[in-house]
């Protein structure tokens, strides 16, 4: 046993601990799969978000509209990271989550040029495409006038205008007027996209 250096036992314990953290990292990374999680504004660069997010919960707790939820149970690597749930709230780009993020995992976000993801109509769920017909709630309510009705009175998303704020999904009444099918989707949903906003 040396006076200052590490004892053999300490090296062994430390080695086991370090190896465990390395093994954990490798395993979790290997089973990470394709991340298709909707992130808060500024978190669209998945590598940056996963790299810098220390899972501190501040973005979620800062969100005044409760749209930020926790990605628990959606892949180990995403555990405790933020995800957006537009069935609970929507985003008004108030920037509070970006301000609260202590590690820069959420970068500055320009809602006029970037998007959280595109709004995509689910033809199976949307009331306008089904017997009931006539629903134009998302068209009327979209804060960015990004949804219009075509000649058949069906809603169409004008992608260059959509920044994925999710208000359409939030107010979509498809789940209220249809019998419960077990679908987690609404008539219009913000979807994850790797594409840049057109």
């Amino acid at each position: 046993m040396s006076e200052k250096g590490l004892t053999r036992k300490e090296v062994l314990v430390g080695g086991v601990g370090a190896a465990a953290v390395l093994a954990l990292g490798g395993t979790v990374k290997a089973f990470a799969g394709e991340g298709a999680i909707l992130r808060p504004p500024g978190g669209q660069d998945e590598a940056r978000l996963l790299g810098a997010c220390i899972r501190c919960d501040r973005c979620r707790s800062a969100c005044p509209l409760d749209v930020i939820s926790v990605a628990n149970g959606q892949g180990l690597i995403n555990t405790r990271t933020p995800r957006l749930d537009f069935r609970i709230g929507y985003c008004n780009f108030c920037n509070l989550c970006i301000e609260a993020c202590p590690t820069g995992a959420l970068a500055a976000f320009d809602p006029d040029r970037e998007w959280i993801g595109p709004a995509v109509i689910d033809y199976g769920e949307c009331l306008a495409f089904n017997k009931a017909g006539g629903c134009r709630i998302c068209v009327d309510e979209c804060p960015y006038q990004a949804i219009y009705l075509n000649e058949r009175q069906e809603p169409v998303v004008d992608l260059p205008k959509c920044n994925g704020c999710g208000y359409c999904e939030y107010i979509c009444p498809s789940h209220k007027f249809r019998s419960f099918s077990g679908s987690r989707k609404r008539g219009i949903n913000i979807e994850h996209s790797k594409e840049v906003r057109p």
């Binding site: 390395l22 954990l24 810098a52 501190c56 405790r80």
Partner: protein, 370 residues
């Protein structure tokens, strides 16, 4: 207010603040990052991992790391005893498991500690470490009383009287009364496995720092803060949040069971988590090396040792295995106040003033040699 009382209040206040933040939507966050909008503390380990994993140089994180250095200089490893939920959780569960042993025996201030050498020895071998948690409501009161008593007697009775007929009773009785039976047992039982409280001395680097190295390398290689996934501090509060998501947003998740399971594994299976494994503790200890303040300072005129009495209470109660008479490993001091409160001679002070240079164990002090 006693240090352990203040500490218990802080330890409770932290989760209370987190829960209030959840309920009232204040955005204050968790110990991983706690603050108001962009003014917030950040876990130094998480900050390092985040920078290595993302490859970003984040100015805000650099500022926070500099402030963490300043904090370490002022307060040392205070996080470990005042904020971290691991020691109180371990205390809670091991105390539960031990059952009545401690509480019934603690009353017997007169027994010599010889009779309980049986089964209990194995169970209580790390009583000192447990005490780093929320102090038992009853035991400290007794100890404080004993310490008071000790102080009075030392003041009232001259040295000669103590050497007289009561000699056998007084000094040992005082030392014994200052510790609970369990703690005394653990002292007498020794520690065959070489736990930290029996270690010769703490060095600047140990196994935790190797784990820390692995943590940082792992974050850099795999591109995400790997340790955050299993951090007992993060997971304790993640459990609160998962529970909040369940009751507030009807959002059930298996993680509500997985998180506490990981924490319990770390706390109860890796029982020396704090001393051997914790990379966060390793960061804190490195940040605390320059610390000069709020360290235990022994008043040699009151110390029983200097009165020729066998006393090692301060050394034995220290959850970090430190001896306040020496400078060795003093950067590991978590300011838990146990040495101060257990000292039968009331010789230990933990005020702000920096302590003067003390001898190292490798250079024995004159009275040790004598």
């Amino acid at each position: 207010m006693k240090i352990t009382t203040a500490r218990a209040i802080t330890l409770v206040l932290v989760p209370v603040l987190v829960v209030l933040g959840l309920v009232f939507h204040t955005g204050s966050g968790t110990p991983s990052s706690f603050g108001w909008t962009f003014v917030a503390s950040v876990c130094p380990l998480g900050a390092l991992e985040a920078m290595l994993a993302s490859g970003l140089v984040i100015p805000r994180v650099l500022v926070v790391l500099v402030l963490a250095l300043a904090f370490g200089f002022l307060f040392g490893k205070v996080f470990c005893a005042w904020v971290c939920p691991v020691p109180p959780l371990r205390g809670f569960f091991t105390r539960r498991a031990k059952g009545k042993g401690k509480k019934t025996m603690a009353g017997g201030a007169t027994d010599t500690g010889v009779q309980d050498t049986g089964v209990q020895d194995a169970e209580v071998s790390d009583a000192g470490v447990q005490d780093a948690g929320v102090p038992d409501a009853e035991v400290p009161v007794q100890k404080a009383h004993a310490a008071e008593l000790a102080g009075q007697r030392l003041q009232s009775s001259p040295e000669t009287a103590a050497e007289g007929s009561d000699a056998a009773k007084t000094p040992e009785g005082l030392v014994n009364a200052a510790l609970s039976v369990d703690e005394r047992t653990s002292l007498k039982a020794g520690c065959p496995s070489g736990c930290a409280s029996c270690a010769e001395k703490r060095k600047k680097l140990d196994s935790r720092h190797i784990v820390l190295g692995g943590t940082l390398v792992s974050a850099a290689i795999f591109g995400f803060p790997v340790f955050c996934l299993v951090c007992p501090v993060g997971l304790t509060f993640a459990t609160l949040i998962a529970f909040w998501r369940l009751v507030g947003f009807n959002e059930p998740s298996w993680m509500l069971l997985v998180f506490p399971a990981i924490v319990l594994l770390e706390v109860l299976v890796l029982r020396k988590w704090c001393l051997r494994w914790c990379p966060l503790g390793a960061v804190m200890s490195l940040l605390s090396i320059p610390n000069r303040f709020f360290k235990p300072k022994v008043d040699e005129t009151k110390c029983l040792l200097k009165k020729g009495k066998e006393c090692s209470v301060c050394k034995e109660v220290c959850p970090e295995g430190l001896d306040p008479h020496f400078s060795d490993g003093m950067h590991e001091c978590t300011k838990c106040g146990l040495c101060k409160e257990h000292c039968p001679g009331l010789a230990i002070n933990m005020g702000f003033s920096p302590r003067k240079a003390l001898p190292s164990k490798s250079a024995p002090s004159p009275d040790k040699a004598a």
